[in-house]
Amino acid sequence: MSKLEHHGTYTPTTGVGKWIDARMPLPRLMYDSFVAYPVPRNLNYAYTFGGILSIFLVIQILTGVVLAMHYVPDATKAFDSVEHIMRDVNSGWLMRYMHQNGAHFFFLAVYLHIFRGLYYGSYKAPRELLWILGCIIYLLMMATAFMGYVLPWGQMSFWGATVITGFFTAFPVIGVPIQELLLGGFAVGDPTLNRFFSLHYLLPFMIAGVVILHVWALHVTGQTNPTGIEVKSKTDTVPFTPYATIKDAFALIVFLAVYAYFVFYMPNFLGHADNYIPADPMVTPAHIVPEWYFLPFYAILRAITFDIGPITAKLGGVIAMFSAVLVLFIVPWLDTSKVRSAVYRPWFKLFFWLFVINSVFLGWLGSQPAEGVYVALAQLSTAIYFGFFLIVMPVLGLVEKPRRLPNSITEAVLERSAKTDGASPPLGDPIAVADKS
């Protein structure tokens, strides 16, 4: 737990500032959270994705609100209204491409954010709730993205919705009622489109709510850092502003530049061409695939081709797919290691990178047909996926001999810079330095 509980250093100077502070100290909260808030001094760029994600949530909501002004959630008009946005609405093409590619980059950032959390053990006590809140955000993002993908009412929208809602029928007794509830009928149609539009508009605000809880939990426990050692003294930290602010801003702009390249120069690269064909319930596309960010789970779904006792292959696949997401929720209790960061866990580090490669491989398998050697590979890859969480995490923590940990963040930083510079640089009190400037 952060030993450095920061006492409010905010002192309003203006009359208005004092008046507000005495009644509802929101400026104080903001100041303490985003200016004076101490962050470990050794955070690397892997720690910038949280900020990037919050900006992407804002981009998605802003562009989405504008799109909703022109979009028509009606099965006969939805596709045309999207084309109307693309052709006739002023800057409509920009809003639409920003929104569409924004979803892809939102997921890219969230995956990097999750992998960073796994690598540095960010989920360990006392940050279990912080991690679980993150998992909830991820789940909400998946639901939002899926429903958003249905809205343009292209071929892939329609058939993707048909396939995904079809998963629920695998569950005995409750499956079909759930599917009918989702669809608002017996097949994907106008009621489906309308409820998906409504929910697609609602869920981002729920995400925003959980993000607030996520940031709250983060600011209670403080951030982890690459060493995984808790903050022990003032020299271990720097104030959020200017240190983290400027670093986050730089990473954000670089990330936005890559995003902008896709928005302006390759806006359809990450999408599927079939979604420029209006939905046709009578014509099945040759190849129904989800967006890339769902492909690993799609591969896991299709890897289960055998019955397990009373569980049919279909139900088994659906259970495996949902479990692949839900297993993230119990990661804090699966990992038995006392050492937090992979930096000091040579074996965990190896298995982590194997897990990353395996996840990408699963994604590739998800884009391939479920037949022949691909099925066997998907089964192996699925086993590795679950093996990492259910076997490697608990066992490794008990048998692995971690490397020697530094005594503090400051010591780790100075050890490293002594190694790279040869000479030991002066150790300044960064907060004091920041205050002076």
């Binding site: 084309e83 058939w159 017996f186 200017p242 420029y276 040759a286 640089p425 300044g428 400037s437």
Partner: protein, 278 residues
């Protein structure tokens, strides 16, 4: 009813698995599209209005006999460099249905700039009936709605070489890809035409639509099949993505801004962090 829904759901999943399975077994198109040089390729690529005008001519005099272009309005042709008067005159060649009039009757009138290109058939059934059961699709979005699988490593390399012309390459390859000599392992059903570039089979219902010298272009461009195919493919890229020029021009400004901003932030970050070992 419940039973039916269960079966439908099961069928949907089964169909998905089978369909995705069948995909590899039938990896169409047989031949990958041939990459062409496009004026609008690359980060600074822009449409060539003269080429789009020639493409419009090919569409209007050939394709439009069967294919609709319903998302394009005559007023959009201003992008091709036509004046308002030229557009009005061009639109007036087309008849569109309007109404009801004061007596409740529908009537035909010459099209205006505000009208969309009228479709050759009143509905899909009429289109099928006139085309031996095959439906000639609307071409408005064709250049974005067809993208043969790029495969590995091409799909990884594409962003680095800014390759986004898969659609027009496909259209060009299809229009110039008809072959008379059918390979032995391919059977072409009666009434279909062999084309190894077709996205969803080896043969399609559309007969080879272009022949040398079938048009005369005002600018003296030779009316070879290759030239016409290229012009109409470029035209269809414009119909699918009319704001591409704006998009790339704005993109350049946005990226220059972001890169300068990033450089300044990097220097600021270096300055700020130089106060502390990290």
């Amino acid at each position: 009813m419940k039973n039916l829904v269960v079966k439908l759901g099961a069928a949907a999943i089964a169909a998905t698995v089978m369909v995705t399975g069948a995909w590899a077994a039938s990896a169409y198109p047989k031949n990958k599209p041939r990459e062409q040089d496009w004026s609008f390729a690359g980060p600074f690529g822009m449409y060539d209005p003269a080429q789009l005008q020639r493409g419009l001519k090919v569409y209007a005099e050939n394709c439009s006999a069967c294919h609709a272009l319903s998302r394009v309005s005559f007023r959009n042709l201003a992008d091709l460099g036509y004046s308002d008067d030229q557009i009005k005159a061009f639109a007036a060649n087309y008849e569109v249905e309007d109404g009801p009039d004061d007596f409740g009757d529908m009537f035909f009138r010459p099209a205006t700039a505000a009208d969309a290109f009228p479709s050759p058939f009143p509905n899909q059934e009429a289109a099928r009936a006139a085309n031996g059961g095959a439906y000639p699709p609307d071409l408005s979005l064709m250049a974005k709605a067809r993208a043969p699988i790029r495969g590995f490593p091409a799909f990884v390399l594409d962003p680095f070489r800014n390759y986004a012309e898969n659609g027009p390459d496909y259209i060009y390859s299809l229009l110039t890809g008809y072959k008379d000599d059918v390979p032995e392992d391919v059977s072409v059903p009666e009434g279909l035409w062999y084309n190894p570039y077709f996205a969803s089979g080896t043969a399609l219902a559309m007969a080879p639509p272009l022949f040398d010298d079938m048009h005369e272009f005002d600018d003296g461009t030779e009316a070879t099949v290759s030239n016409m195919a290229k012009d109409v493919a470029a035209f269809l890229m414009w119909t699918a993505e009319p704001h591409m020029d704006d998009r790339k021009q704005l993109g350049f400004r946005v990226l220059v801004f972001l890169l300068i901003f990033a450089a300044l932030l990097y220097l600021s970050k270096k300055q700020v962090w130089s106060r502390v070992e990290h």
